[in-house]
Amino acid sequence: MISALHWFAFAFLVGGGVALFRSRRRRHRLEGLAALALGGALLTLLSGPDRATAAAVAVLSSLTLAGLLAVAAAMERTARRESASDLALDRDPLRWS
């Protein structure tokens, strides 16, 4: 059964995903990533045949997602350090002039 909480988590997933590729600003992208991770962690927490297993997996997934967020933040920081501006990820780098 898909509950209202599931839909709430889906909304975070989709919203976060859209923000990643539509936003030109690093801060908005990181907020999108956080929303995406939150949605994923919530969905995992709602899963599992019993609460103990689900909680254990949710903790594991959350840690993984936190690590992934740290990598993303490091990439964005590197770009900012290199040229003092955010990456324009809404455009294909192959078409950059």
């Binding site: 899963s47 770009a79 990456l87 192959l94």
Partner: protein
């Protein structure tokens, strides 16, 4: 089973060790780890051939994570990934004579990527697959992004974000499937999905996530830049191996576990996505002016071929299963060869556009020959591995009554021939030979060119002796029993082999 653990742990330990070593020891440490991992991968294949499929569950039966399965598919992919990575690493060691040397972070990242790929190929449950997808995503994107320059950083970050969205979507789907079925083990899913709407939503989410990772048109937006801009020693790993990782999970899901819920329309829809990728990727490759861009769009097209196998697999065709997986392997070798060879040609000829390849064969005959040999396999001409894969797929399309896939495959091959002919025509043309660039051949140059040529020759050997691999792929395959999965399709008759080839592999089943 020790060999499964060895294939998983060796590259992981090697990555950790290499990361803490002084920079000058990183390349030797990587090569030593890869040599050991190659031994483990060969032992894994031997074990599967002799004893059949095995599984290892880390942490006992209570955990929903940590199940690894060694069967024909996973052991073949593990061996392929070590072979390709070893060649690319050897290339990376030698490339500093002509190309910029890889950054010191390259070596541990390459081993971490290999560990993630092995984990993914061997994963028997959804959560392990998710974790390994993340390892592959981080290592792959980091290799692109931190190779230097803002453009690469943008390409790598876009690639990373696409992978992240795909992974979290996959995780969400896996969670829903777990809620509905009470299991995360892929092999336990059959029989538990059909009447569970939650599981179906979960399955759909997992599929979308994997299609973004493969990627399939129209979800391929991140691939061309990441693959075309990536450093020389990274592109072959991405184009040859990483893109296959999500396909293997997709094939495990759709080729066995979830076949009961697939409708013919859904199966055809997946195949149609593959067909669009074949045509779209082929046309864009034909229009591209930069060589690596041609190869990147070629990857989009060749990945479509993998997806075209899915509706035939679901119709119960063992030939489609074998053809699809054989293509995944047969594509990796020549693709890696082309990417390495064109990098050498580009540095020798002073540019990476198609027109710059004019007269390349006169300057670097071994590299140009590697491109030619690899092109034959990518097009699917006999007697290469690409031909065997396409043969099986075409036969599957006819035996399952889905002839339109045969037409798509032939059309895709013609497009491949067209865009690769542009490269070959320039390479082997003597009209525009750049005499001012003539450099005397040296043993070092032959050595590095020989790496690309070895990979291209492997694709030829795979075509000349396909039976060992075909026999291996039948071990533990969901279709080896010959049970139709989707409809009462025409599975049962073994595909006729090309004239002159033995039928030992078919008899093995």
């Amino acid at each position: 089973m020790v060999v499964i653990l060895a294939a998983l742990v060796l590259p992981l330990l090697g990555a950790g060790l290499t990361a803490v070593l002084a920079p000058r020891w990183r390349a030797p440490s990587t090569l030593a780890t890869l040599a050991l991992t190659l031994v483990a991968a060969i032992a894994l294949v031997r074990a599967v051939l002799h004893d059949g499929a095995h599984q290892v569950r880390l942490g006992g039966d209570e955990l929903a994570i940590g199940l690894f399965i060694a069967d024909g598919l996973s052991s073949a992919m593990v061996l392929l990934s070590v072979v390709v990575t070893l060649h690319v690493a050897a290339f990376a060691v030698l490339q500093s004579r002509e190309l910029p040397a890889p950054r010191t972070s390259y070596w541990p990242l390459a081993l971490a990527l290999l560990a993630g790929l092995h984990g993914l190929f061997l994963a028997g449950d959804l959560l392990t697959a998710y974790l390994m997808l993340e390892v592959v995503a981080v290592a792959g994107a980091a290799m692109v992004a931190w190779a230097g320059g803002r453009r690469l950083l943008a390409a790598g970050t876009r690639y990373y974000y696409a992978e992240l969205v795909a992974s979290v979507t996959f995780l969400a789907g896996a969670g829903l499937v777990w809620t509905a079925t009470g299991t995360t083990v892929i092999a336990e899913l059959p029989g538990r999905l059909a009447d569970e709407p939650t599981a179906l939503v979960g399955l759909a989410l997992m599929t979308v996530g994997l299609l973004l990772k493969v990627p399939v048109v129209p979800l391929h937006f991140w691939l061309p830049a990441a693959h075309a801009l990536a450093p020389t020693a990274v592109s072959p790993l991405l184009s040859g191996l990483v893109v296959k990782s999500a396909f293997v999970v997709l094939l495990r899901l759709w080729g066995g576990a979830t076949a009961e819920v697939a409708t013919p329309v859904l199966a055809q829809l997946l195949g149609a996505l593959g067909a669009v990728a074949i045509l779209w990727g082929g046309l864009l490759a034909l229009r591209s002016q930069r060589v690596k861009q041609v190869v990147a769009y070629s990857t989009v097209a060749q990945l479509g071929l993998l997806l075209v196998a899915v509706p035939m697999v679901l119709a119960g065709s063992a030939d489609a299963w074998k053809g699809g997986v054989f293509h995944a392997i047969a594509h990796a070798l020549p693709k890696a060869a082309v990417l390495l060879a064109v990098a050498l040609l580009a540095v020798s000829l002073g540019g990476d556009t198609v027109d710059r390849l004019e007269g390349a064969a006169a300057h670097r005959p071994l590299a140009a020959f590697a491109v030619g040999l690899a092109a034959i396999s990518l097009i699917g001409l006999p007697p290469t591995g690409g031909f065997v894969a396409k043969w099986y797929l075409v036969v599957a399309s006819i035996t399952t009554g889905q002839w339109w896939w045969a037409a798509t495959i032939v059309l895709g091959s013609l497009l491949t021939a067209a865009y690769l002919a542009r490269l070959l025509q320039r390479c082997f043309s003597s009209a525009g030979r750049n005499h001012h660039l003539d450099v005397p051949a040296s043993p070092q140059r032959h050595g590095i060119d020989g790496i690309a040529l070895t990979l291209a020759t492997s694709a030829l050997v795979l075509g000349l002796y396909p039976n060992l691999l075909l026999g291996l792929l039948e071990i533990g395959a969901p279709l080896a029993t010959g049970v139709p999965l989707l409809t009462d399709g025409s599975f049962g008759a073994d595909a006729p082999l090309p004239i002159g080839w033995s039928t030992e592999a078919s008899a093995h089943a």
